[in-house]
Symmetry: C2
């Protein structure tokens, strides 16, 4: 699609300007922007505005009561427009003692740039800007119109974004939306077309005002047993979720999705088994159904359970309190609030009125975007070009980003791809980005923008 | 049974010598004797020998490879003999910071003597010696022959005692055995005629070499869910233990036991409900069956369960490890080793071969002594005399002392009674004995020994 000569010229430019791009990423990373701690958010927004303006992007701030996002527009006079979603806030850097170099002093060592935000999400912002810069210098213009939406509160669940998307729907109008990032599967790049919703809850049980000596176990109630029985009522040993009505709203994947899923490579179960010492997978799923089960199934996970004493030595106690943390990942058209209510009803119906269900977080809705086969094909080929291997396309990734806003509010095909890699330690101490991955990402983005343009994006 | 005049004379003696008895108890408590830390055991044994000898008791040490007990004999030339079991070792005093005054510096304040061992079990030793001393001074002789067996390793499960009891069966021959202590039910004194066995276990589950992101919950195994399902298979929500064969060996209580149980007062369930904020009891048991269920039922308790993260904030983790601690209290003729094996078989049969069962402690066997109605009657009346209220007689108490040695090896009727009280903080920091309880115990013991003698114990 993209002329080999053009591709080579872009690659040459990227190679020759790598240091400059890295310096720009360092500038982004040097500015703290921790939304959950309200640290440096305004300063970071100013920096983003300046950087976009330097590239000729017309900018504005979309006002809201929490942290306003930056909107930007590169009006190239083309018939097709892509909206790029990113975010300029980052996770807290704590625990600080575990960082080899300080989180907001970007440092290059061993082929990686270390800093909070180096991957998530400043690495992606700068890679996209760098790709556009390379194209502009090589061909003197932009192959498509580009819109930017750079969120300032993604790491705190984007509280204002749904309302803003509704309010500025016309402004954000585009043919496609490119979301911020994805993970790899091992080393293989992954493109994601949707994401699950997340609903985290805490279950608490209190059966008496005090623990008792375990001698009373024949007569006094045990919070530990109550919790065990309540949890056991929620899921069977084969992984089937037993909460009444839980699966009722699950949307049947479209034929296009089913086709896409069938095209993905089989997972190497033997390798996973060996690597992690796993003896059996949920429901004894085999290689053939593994990816479908991973992608399409809603989950109900116990992220923590505790009651009584499990420390050193023994303590013959009859625990009066128990707690469990549960997270559910939901697929379209399940609803997190409804899942919570179903669970409450389920427990009550079975007599577990001594189990309190405390909703913790309803993160994002699930999204399953319409598929634009041509745009997806351009992105797949761009990834092959940048990374030298065919990406996996995941119809729904498991995770918690507000992609549903693009799919459900803007109603546009959305694809996510980015610089994420397991070794980049996203959200953890020593977050980093491999410089080779950063370059591959710039090349991929350039190829993608050019591909969208040449294949019908020109005016 | 006991002449009122004699009783008054003994009471007068006890009143007039209380300070001396307390000084003696302080002497006992000043000497550390922590068997699990091998601290002061030999010195304590020497002290016990000296104290018994000072009261005219013929003593010897019964040699064994662990901590030898003290044997003593007051040969009064009577036809009837009682064997008194006690122990001179104590629980570790830690955590030391929680003691108001140091554990081995006995201190009287607010009507209590504070020291490790003040109740368990030095308070009982000294109360019994004091009662005998009072009798000797008042009537110039002993109403029955008295044998002493004072264990040095009760707090570490008396490893040598069964073999010693078999070896010295003739030496330990007696008509009755009086065990070391009991608890109260609220404030009401309790006499116990037997005890449950205890079997503590740890269940461990490891489903992978590492925790995963909870996004993988649809396909990767969860140790938390495995543990929940394994535990749920062991007991139903009504408290019925589901381990295959668990109840097979439970001995049917004799008619004498059943009669005794029926004679005990009903538990005040409303008061318990109110005091502890309990909404329902195990199996919704009512007041009528409460005591029987408490006493006669073997138990399966979760003393602790933990997996994943339940700390502050949330952590979306799929836990690869889980552990649970389980303690079972068994009745005659259940066997702790067999209970462990039954559980292993039960789990294996249900496919839980990823749950490891680690036996922790097989504490004592269960014991259900023969009932000597006359001796029991004497003890009940003695308690009424000392405490001013009718005691509850418990056919099997829940607790872990090696009473079975008296019942099963020596084959004698055994009764337990002592100075134990919920406020005495046995095994905990600030262990103490109320001085009023200590005096009541001395009077009770004196009345008991005199009663056994006058009612047929004389030669």
């Amino acid at each position: 699609m993209v002329e080999p000569k053009l591709r080579q010229a872009v690659a040459k430019y990227v190679r020759e300007h790598q240091d400059e791009f890295i310096e720009r990423l360092k500038r982004f990373c040097r500015q703290p922007s921790v939304s959950s701690q309200d640290l440096g958010i305004d300063e970071m927004r100013e920096l983003v505005l300046r950087e976009l303006q330097a590239d000729g992007v017309a900018t504005r701030v979309l006002p809201c009561e929490t942290a306003p996002p930056v909107y930007g527009e590169l009006q190239a006079g083309r018939s097709k427009t892509i909206l790029l979603y990113n975010h300029f806030d980052v996770q807290p850097p704590e625990p600080l003692a575990e960082w080899t170099t300080p989180p907001f002093e970007p440092t290059v060592r061993d082929g990686r740039l270390y800093a909070r935000g180096a991957t998530d999400n400043k690495g992606n912002i700068v890679a996209r800007l760098s790709a556009l810069q390379a194209i502009k210098h090589v061909i003197g213009e932009y192959p498509i119109n580009v819109k930017f939406l750079i969120d300032g509160e993604e790491e705190v669940n984007s509280p204002s974004l749904p309302a803003l998307a509704r309010e500025y729907r016309d402004l954000l109008e585009a043919d496609w939306v490119l979301w911020e990032d994805t993970l790899r599967e091992g080393d293989v790049p992954v493109i994601s077309l949707g994401s699950k919703a997340i609903c985290t809850l805490e279950l608490r049980c209190k059966t008496a005002s005090t623990d008792f000596h375990s001698a009373f176990a024949g007569v006094y109630p045990s919070a530990a047993w109550r919790m065990v029985h309540a949890l056991a009522s929620m899921k069977d040993a084969d992984g089937k979720i037993l909460i009444d009505g839980f699966y009722d709203d699950v949307r049947k994947p479209s034929p296009a999705f089913q086709k896409l899923q069938k095209e993905q490579p089989e997972v190497d179960l033997e390798a996973i088994t060996k690597k992690f010492g796993i003896r059996r997978f949920v429901g004894n799923v085999g290689a053939q159904d593994f990816r479908r089960q991973y992608v399409a199934s809603p989950t109900c996970n116990i992220s923590g359970v505790s009651s009584g004493y499990t420390g050193k030595g023994s303590k013959n106690v009859l625990p009066a309190e128990a707690r469990a943390r549960v997270d559910m990942r939901l697929v379209p058209d399940q609803d997190a609030q409804k899942a919570y209510e179903l669970l409450c009803r389920h427990l009550k119906k079975r007599g577990f009125d001594d189990i309190e269900v405390i909703p913790d977080r309803y993160g994002s809705k699930a999204s399953m975007s319409a598929i634009d086969e041509r745009a997806l094909d351009v992105l797949v080929k761009a990834v092959e070009c940048g990374y030298g291997c065919k990406p996996i396309v995941e119809s729904i990734s498991s995770g918690g980003t507000p992609m549903w806003i693009a799919a459900e509010i803007l109603g546009k095909p959305v694809m996510a791809f980015g610089v994420g890699h397991p070794s980049h330690r996203t959200h953890a101490p020593n977050e980093n980005v491999m410089l080779s991955e950063f370059s591959a990402q710039i090349l991929t983005m350039a190829e993608f923008f050019l591909g969208l343009g040449t294949d019908g994006g020109t005016a």
